[in-house]
């Protein structure tokens, strides 16, 4: 039932709202054709991030793309942000419901 050709990688990036614009710009420069952002709060190695105000807010960003592109973006994110920013990235496969007239639009 599952159509292998529609399997893409979804990358989820949870990071500081302070760098949301930077991260999104980078992703687009790296070739992302889309992304989705949601306001978030959390806990991690950088402590509690309660979102009570700008500097303590998180954002949860999703990017869906081919595995190759996603890995390229993930590596770039890791290099640029992991050391100095609160950031967690994880990947998993998703089956995308395709636009028939936009075949291969995410390749």
């Amino acid at each position: 039932m599952e159509d292998k050709s529609n399997i893409y990688k979804l990358m989820t990036i949870i990071t500081e709202a302070a760098v949301e614009n930077e991260v999104l710009n980078d992703l687009v420069k790296l070739g992302a054709k889309g992304y989705t952002s949601v306001d978030a709060r959390g806990l991690g190695h950088h402590g509690v991030r309660s979102a009570a105000w700008g500097m303590s807010a998180n954002v949860r960003i999703e990017v869906m793309d081919t595995e190759e592109n996603v890995r390229k973006m993930a590596a770039a994110m890791k290099e640029r942000y992991y050391r100095n920013y609160a950031m967690l990235i994880f990947l998993h496969d998703v089956e995308v419901v395709p636009h028939d007239d936009l075949d291969g639009v995410w390749d």
Binding site: E16, A18, D39, G47, S50, A51, A52, M55, N84
Partner: protein, 312 residues
């Protein structure tokens, strides 16, 4: 006579420290800070419209020089006494060279409650002081490095929320003047103190959150967060006296020098000096200096002004 807005701050602080579930939604915090920034700008702009702009130029230059100088004064202390990493020392220095609009608002409200006059163009200085410390902070952290994306820094500094609203308010107030402002006065001027009270309630909660990190960073940071404003306040007051300002004006100049940024500077440092630990500088500026200033500092800076004037 105790100002109710300080009590709102203390209420928020207690609620936060006692882990009450009380919190303001982030959108409301945004609204309150937008209202405060616009109101301060508008009030300053209306006053500017009344006086010749050129006469202010020397004072403005002096204030800019102060903004460049203050961070350089504390940087070595942070580096050699505090033994912070270079990036952290530079970032903290930048916070203390810049200003806190919330603290400024508390000082204004303090003077208003006592019917003490102050030079009404002070908001211009707030705008001017937001920026130089950021540049100095980046230079201290990185030297004149090719790495620094100055375009991005300039964008961040000049087009940050704080500057746009303060400067925008100033210019609008300046254009429309006292008459023009009447129709929007009920929101921006009449509600000012109430909005400030709510804002300080939330700042109390946020400050309580920041105080959690106090013990982690130890005594030096606490001492630094109290001693710096006490000294910087005197520098500001002296500068005010040098320009022949009134008692109120000197109090505000002292408050500006003594206050530490917790909005514009942390955001800029986060982007331009990412290796600096933001929790360190915020614990100092927000967890120590901000509460110190609004509860004890402002009255202290008022006595500075009175004392200096008694000498003259």
């Amino acid at each position: 006579m105790i100002d109710p807005i300080i009590l709102f701050f203390i209420l928020g602080l207690l609620a936060g420290l006692l882990r009450s579930e009380l919190k303001l939604p982030p959108a409301i915090y945004e609204l309150l800070s937008i209202l405060l920034l616009l109101a301060i700008g508008l009030k300053g702009g209306v006053e500017l419209a009344k006086q010749p702009f050129l006469e202010l130029l020397p004072q403005m230059l002096a204030v800019l020089v102060m903004g460049f100088t203050l961070p350089i004064l504390v940087y070595p202390v942070l580096l050699y006494v505090g033994r912070f990493k270079r990036a952290d020392a530079a970032s903290i220095a930048a916070h203390y060279g810049s200003v806190s609009v919330g603290t400024f608002a508390v000082a204004v409200s303090y003077l208003a409650a006592r019917n003490i006059f102050y030079e009404p163009h002070m908001p211009v200085f707030v705008v001017l002081l937001e920026m130089p410390a950021i540049l100095v902070g980046i230079l201290l952290a990185k030297g004149i490095s090719r790495d620094t994306r100055w375009g991005l820094v300039a964008h961040e500094v000049l087009l940050g929320k704080g500057i746009v609203l303060l400067a925008g308010g100033l210019i609008i107030g300046w254009i429309v003047g006292p008459e023009g402002i009447t129709s929007i006065k009920p929101l921006f001027i009449d509600l000012f103190k109430g909005v400030l009270a709510l804002f300080l309630l939330e700042m109390g909660i946020i400050t309580a959150g920041q105080m959690g990190s106090l013990k982690r960073y130890g005594l030096f940071l606490v001492a630094f967060g109290i001693i710096t404003p006490v000294i910087f306040g005197m520098i500001g007051a002296l500068l005010g006296m040098f320009f022949g300002m009134s008692e109120g004006g000197m109090t505000i100049m002292a408050t500006l020098a003594a206050s530490a940024s917790y909005i514009a500077v942390p955001a800029a440092m986060r982007l331009s000096v990412p290796e600096a630990n933001p929790s360190l500088s915020l614990t100092a500026s927000l967890g120590i200096t901000f509460p110190f200033n609004i509860v004890l500092g402002v009255p202290l800076y008022h006595t500075y002004a009175q004392y200096l004037l008694s000498l003259a």
